[in-house]
Symmetry: D5
Subunit: 129 residues, 10 copies
Amino acid sequence: MPDPSLLETFPTPTDAPFVIEHVAEEFTSVCPKTGHPDFGVVTLRYQPRAASDPASRGCIELKSLKLYYQSFRNEGIFYEAVTNRIRDDLVKTMNPAWLQVITDWRGRGGIRSTIRADHGPVPAQFQGR
Amino acid sequence: MPDPSLLETFPTPTDAPFVIEHVAEEFTSVCPKTGHPDFGVVTLRYQPRAASDPASRGCIELKSLKLYYQSFRNEGIFYEAVTNRIRDDLVKTMNPAWLQVITDWRGRGGIRSTIRADHGPVPAQFQGR
Amino acid sequence: MPDPSLLETFPTPTDAPFVIEHVAEEFTSVCPKTGHPDFGVVTLRYQPRAASDPASRGCIELKSLKLYYQSFRNEGIFYEAVTNRIRDDLVKTMNPAWLQVITDWRGRGGIRSTIRADHGPVPAQFQGR
Amino acid sequence: MPDPSLLETFPTPTDAPFVIEHVAEEFTSVCPKTGHPDFGVVTLRYQPRAASDPASRGCIELKSLKLYYQSFRNEGIFYEAVTNRIRDDLVKTMNPAWLQVITDWRGRGGIRSTIRADHGPVPAQFQGR
Amino acid sequence: MPDPSLLETFPTPTDAPFVIEHVAEEFTSVCPKTGHPDFGVVTLRYQPRAASDPASRGCIELKSLKLYYQSFRNEGIFYEAVTNRIRDDLVKTMNPAWLQVITDWRGRGGIRSTIRADHGPVPAQFQGR
Amino acid sequence: MPDPSLLETFPTPTDAPFVIEHVAEEFTSVCPKTGHPDFGVVTLRYQPRAASDPASRGCIELKSLKLYYQSFRNEGIFYEAVTNRIRDDLVKTMNPAWLQVITDWRGRGGIRSTIRADHGPVPAQFQGR
Amino acid sequence: MPDPSLLETFPTPTDAPFVIEHVAEEFTSVCPKTGHPDFGVVTLRYQPRAASDPASRGCIELKSLKLYYQSFRNEGIFYEAVTNRIRDDLVKTMNPAWLQVITDWRGRGGIRSTIRADHGPVPAQFQGR
Amino acid sequence: MPDPSLLETFPTPTDAPFVIEHVAEEFTSVCPKTGHPDFGVVTLRYQPRAASDPASRGCIELKSLKLYYQSFRNEGIFYEAVTNRIRDDLVKTMNPAWLQVITDWRGRGGIRSTIRADHGPVPAQFQGR
Amino acid sequence: MPDPSLLETFPTPTDAPFVIEHVAEEFTSVCPKTGHPDFGVVTLRYQPRAASDPASRGCIELKSLKLYYQSFRNEGIFYEAVTNRIRDDLVKTMNPAWLQVITDWRGRGGIRSTIRADHGPVPAQFQGR
Amino acid sequence: MPDPSLLETFPTPTDAPFVIEHVAEEFTSVCPKTGHPDFGVVTLRYQPRAASDPASRGCIELKSLKLYYQSFRNEGIFYEAVTNRIRDDLVKTMNPAWLQVITDWRGRGGIRSTIRADHGPVPAQFQGR
């Protein structure tokens, strides 16, 4: 089951603002209604707080992110809940300046779905993408 | 014929604002003028009201949306009317913060068409897409 | 229901061999098991018999082919049966030198399918395409 | 020659604002200088006035639009003039809230061209597309 | 674990030879060495024996194929073994005229892999695809 | 109307066999049944006879080919007849070792069509393309 | 060498504002450092002044633009200088409301380059494209 | 190891503002954790200061940029550090009006990453691209 | 430097013939003439000998293949030599029924290159791909 | 003017047969009729003779090939002559086992052209590509 304790961080290397994006193309969980697997792409974008900001809890370590995503593999959970859950777990872990999670799901019954969840002041150029 | 009673909802899981998009690639109805079938892609985007908002009537259930779309299969109805009808039925069902319906129709006589209908304050980044 | 009486032909214009291909991108029928609509692309390739061949029954008229395909719209019929049915109806109507029908179906449950059915000596270059 | 009398309209079905786009991929006219044919794609986008607005003259009927475009087939006329002419004829016919015509021309001498002409307050999200 | 007893068949509808292809884009199993999930696309092509051939055991039923593929979800198994296993299970179930299984695996460490396994006289046009 | 007298040739520059392909992406004629324009791509492939072969009548001059194609602009003529007509006119003009004409037509009523007509021993690698 | 005297104009046909874009895909000049040829795509966008504006010097004639671009063929000139030169020559010739020149250069040593130069109030929707 | 002394500049050719973009598709460095090579695309965008601005230190010379990028080849360095390092070295070298560095990394463990770092007032149209 | 001792194998799992393909998209070596890095894609296809064939030395282990490819990273070596070297090292290691190595190199000076080297009876369907 | 003396060779590194392909995407010459530049892609494929074959004159050196192609830059020469000329010059220089030259020309007047010229026993899998 989804396990946020897997998430690790490293200190952000600079005070200058910059933006990090990780696109995980091999996400899978299970539909709680039908028991069939769901497959999707999870995009994470965020700006870490400045290195000198005492509130900063750093950047997410890439391998730990991968293991955290894998912990959803056999979880029965809806699209909307996956997306909000990932946002909340990552916000708690990093306390970033802002953060955005987008999940793109392959079709079920001919309908493809995308869920977008933001935290904090996501810049205009990243909204709706 | 189009049957909005097929539409079902589930409670939105959070107070945090998020955006849901469903792209149905297999929509078909019938041209009322020629009797020939029309084929299109229907994109629905909306933001549900917050879970704690008493006006919220939740999120659309995916399978019920599919059955609702299938109810247009043998209906004679113009592009413009399909688009406005879907918008109105979904707004009534969910009472969302905002909602957008876009229909993309395969060509007839060498002309492809797209119809866009909005409800409420659709954010700038989703307009014109 | 599928109605081969809709099919019309016109005389092939020449004795020189040539090959005709029609790709119908908007085919739909109904799954007899689930009642859900199926969507596919139907490719027809054939070589009409020579104009001077008394066995020739000509080339398929394009609009009549479209109406024939539309007659499957509300028929409950499996992929394999659709493909063999179209092949048999067209062979009976045209008596061509050879003929090939390929149906490509959009995914159901994450599986896309293609069915290929031949009649007569289909040249090597068209097999497996 | 270009014949705006071919254009027909139908009443817009709603007071709610919505946007209609028709992309005609098979436009052809003749270069008045060389006599060679030009080939292009004509995109029309507009918002009809509300149904209850007495100034509304409705939406363009799709088949009449096709015939109107075909009336340029043997006309010797420059890219720029085609684009402005279509804009003006359609504005006169529909009196829309706003309207946009974009013509994309296949290359001549290795140069592809695009002409964009607007009428009224075209929303930002459609400008430059 | 992989469970061939999930596989069901239906009688092939005709004596005329035809070819069936199913492309499952959402296959996943687990690497037995690292424990990380593998993701791939499984293509199955085969020609059922003629309906009148007493050795025929029919065509694979599509939903049962999907469930059979899902039974690999948490199995630790190498690419090569997955491919040979699927071929062998399907050959035993259907006894087809010929059969072909191709697995395309998303990259691991920057290397994408494809495994092809045939049974019986696969026609030239399908080899190497 | 189609005018083969527009076609000009130039002497083939060598005895060594080579293959020439011209793809005209802007072909248009008129459907004799509906009066609506048809749009297509015409591919011509051929091998000229050797320079020293007294039967050689050379290679087609490119600008004359363009003008010949333009002469179909307002001709009411079916797909099949266009293809056979072009093949016959070019064979008469050049007397090539072999020649192939392929016409690809944009969709009418949701059906795209391709017609292939050969003359002489077209090599296997060009058949069915 | 680059020759702006080749540039010709024609009067803009209307007072209504519209935008013209010409994309020349076959531009070539020579690197002054290495003597090797450079290949690029030159995009020109501009809005001519209104026909009734006495400052208007019209629209660029397409064939003259092609000849002007060809005059760079054997000129040794850097990417940045080409771009600024074209902008300046065209601004002098047309005196447009605004103008934009973008050059996209094929890679040299694995690096592709794009240079953008503006004149006057280029609308936001064209900036950065 | 990364060597900014390799970077050379040339004087910007004009006072008119313009934007330069270099996309290096063959960047490689080494992961300091695993020792495996990383591969990415580095995009640099900047606006040089005006030629007459005494603070201007010009434009980056293309071949020197290539050699500078090659100096990362055997350096163990994280994605985030590469991106910030390149930004800082180039800002020091050129003192541009604004500058932007974007690194796109091929997947590791199924996750692709993009890092964006800005300096100075990057115009809105380049943000988030 | 290239180190074939890094290559490891595992026993082929079956006597049934099957084909394995590994596409490494991140190969890099160094041009011995200029010292600049080369970047390419290395495709390996082979058929292992049957499990019961005493001459079989099995299948290449994927991680060892990756490390072997990485050992070329700082080697000065021409395209042709890389390709022949990989073929020879892999043939010695596995003694396969047949084997094929294809290297696709990104452009240098505007020229992209592909080198193909075979060992043993490569089936027709894999030749020239 | 085309200068085959620019072509240099290096000894083929092995007796094992292998195939080399160089795709030059930036070829340009001049149309002798109109004086306008032509732009094309030149593909060269060949198999060098074995290293131990006394008739072998080796492989073409890549930079010399580039300079040879550049020597056509200001030559007035037809498509067909370019193709045959390159084939003949390269055959004389290398005396390969077989050789193939394919030129793909960007459109002139809406017609794209491809010329293919072979020398010696070009394997079937490379013919017609």
